[in-house]
């Protein structure tokens, strides 16, 4: 289990580098926009950029983990049960790390944006769990049907890319709009979101167990 934890901790860190790079890109786009926000507003908005990147990275990485790393670890002689635990550990670590960073930034920067952010942490946790479950489900389905990967990766990537482009052109103002829409969506559908996340996590758990315990480690 020690080796397994070592691998998945490093895996989390390597993916955190991707997450930070995407966040930095979003931040730069926001600053280069037509209406540059004030520094304190920008700093308080950074956690949202981190969360957007976090959801996207979690989704994509969870999908690709099932295609590459999970069969690879089976091929390296790890038990499937340990791999499932390790994968779960990675997901929780990534979510906890992202939310902790957000909480820290909001805690350090006073103001209404930060207070609102801290108040919304539970629903942001649910959102990240949802992204994580969706990515993992897409990954397990890909094991059986390769075309799922095409759809499951291209559509979210397209949406995320479009969002970056949209915000990149308008900078702070458009990011504000995106965040307002997202906030309305999330806060207006708390219980359906919680319920959907719970159902998807259960489906994810079952699918993962079924696929990982029966698959061949082809690399």
């Amino acid at each position: 289990m020690r080796r397994n934890l070592k691998f998945w901790t490093r895996y989390t860190w390597e993916n955190a580098e991707i997450l930070l790079a995407v966040t930095a890109l979003l931040g730069v786009l926001m600053l280069l926009g037509r209406e540059r926000p004030a520094w304190d507003v920008f700093a308080a908005r950074v956690p949202y950029l981190l969360l957007m990147s976090g959801c996207f990275t979690l989704y994509i990485v969870n999908t690709s983990s099932h295609q590459l790393y999970i069969p690879l670890l089976i091929a390296m002689g790890e038990t499937r049960r340990n791999i499932l635990y390790g994968f779960l550990y990675y997901r929780l670590l990534a979510i906890a790390g992202t939310l902790a960073a957000c909480g820290l930034i909001w805690g350090l920067i006073p103001g209404e944006i930060s207070r609102e952010g801290l108040r919304h942490l539970p629903i942001l946790l649910v959102t990240m769990l949802l992204a994580s479950a969706l990515g993992s489900i897409a990954g397990t389905l890909t094991v059986r049907w390769k075309w799922v990967a095409l759809v499951a990766i291209m559509i979210p990537s397209g949406i995320f890319g479009g969002l970056i482009g949209y915000m990149g052109v308008g900078g702070g103002t458009r990011l504000e709009k995106v965040l307002q829409v997202a906030s309305r969506l999330l806060t207006g559908t708390v219980w359906p979101l919680v319920l959907a996340t719970a159902v998807l996590l259960a489906v994810d758990g079952l699918l993962q167990y079924r696929v990982v315990m029966t698959r061949e480690a082809k690399i």
Partner: protein, 293 residues
């Protein structure tokens, strides 16, 4: 104390790829697993190491079940062929990263040997797997197998794509490692003639069943190649199990299987020669040649 599978069945889409396969691999020996394409060799190796679940049957190592047993899996290494194709997710991974993950998971990974082999094979570890040639990918699988230091190491077509020099290097490395450590190696290969001198024990798999299992030399002694004039050959081999026959005009050559107590009647004008492992394999697994003379 052995790696053992009993009554293994593996079914893919209604087709039995392995049919009631039972084999035992004793410690401290080099085994050859040979069979034609599609005989089920890779499937058997992957089931033996829990990389593929069997439809039925059990695999044990020193009496313990291998499936989901970390203690047993730590003693096993199956260095399987890496496809490296664009479809495979691993194609984007660098060799360096692949070996780093292997070093994390194999408890007794030999870092010094890894460096030595990377230098010997002149492998560019910074290059992605998808950019490596077939021969280079074989070298990666050889490095994994040897550096894992697993007491039971299984290799699937380790010399595929290697040139003759690299193949000789591999056989020497394998023999050195075997002599130094006494590890058990199971090697699946199509290049039978070259590997034959290394293979102390042999398992021949044919159409999902074990056709032969045992000591290579003892097995070869049960076969003979008889040649001469067709009528003389037929008379000399009457009552014997003929597995492969070649005729050229009135000359004939047959490979026969000798059951205990049987022998070729050398009073006829025939030449009796020992067979090589490759000849024996072709005789046994060739198409439609078997008949009782």
């Amino acid at each position: 104390m052995s790696l053992k599978c009993e009554h293994i069945v593996k079914t893919y889409g209604g087709k039995d790829v392995l049919q009631n396969v039972s084999v035992e691999f004793q410690p401290g020996k080099i085994y050859g697993l040979i069979g034609r394409n599609g005989a089920g060799k890779t499937t058997l190796l992957s089931i033996l190491t829990a990389q593929n679940p069997a439809t039925a049957g059990t695999v044990t190592l020193d009496g313990e079940k291998v499936w989901e047993n970390r203690r047993a899996l730590e003693k096993l290494c199956f260095s399987r062929e890496i496809s490296g194709s664009a479809e495979s997710g691993i194609s984007a991974m660098k060799v360096k990263e692949y070996l780093r993950i292997a070093a994390t998971y194999y408890e007794h990974w030999d870092k010094a040997l890894e460096k030595k082999l990377v230098d010997l094979f002149q492998l560019d570890v910074k290059k992605k797997i998808g950019k490596q040639s077939k021969g280079m990918l074989s070298m990666v699988t050889i490095i994994l197998a040897l550096c894992s230091k697993a007491p039971y190491t299984l290799l699937d077509e380790p010399v595929a794509g290697l040139d003759v020099v690299a193949r000789e290097q591999f056989y020497k490395l394998l023999l050195d490692e075997y002599t130094a450590t006494g590890r058990t190696f199971v090697i699946s290969t199509h290049i039978i003639e070259e590997a034959a001198p290394l293979l102390e024990e042999i398992v021949i798999l044919h159409e999902g069943r074990v056709l032969v299992e045992g000591n290579t030399q003892a097995f070869l002694e049960t076969m003979a190649y008889v040649s001469g004039k067709d009528t003389e050959v037929d008379a000399a081999t009457a009552g014997l199990e003929v597995h492969h026959a070649e005729t050229l005009g009135r000359s004939k050559g047959v490979t026969v299987f000798l059951r205990p107590g049987q022998r070729v009647d050398e009073s006829y004008d025939v030449t009796v020669q020992p067979v090589s492992l490759q000849q024996a394999f072709v005789a046994l697994c060739g198409e439609g040649e078997k008949h009782e003379a």
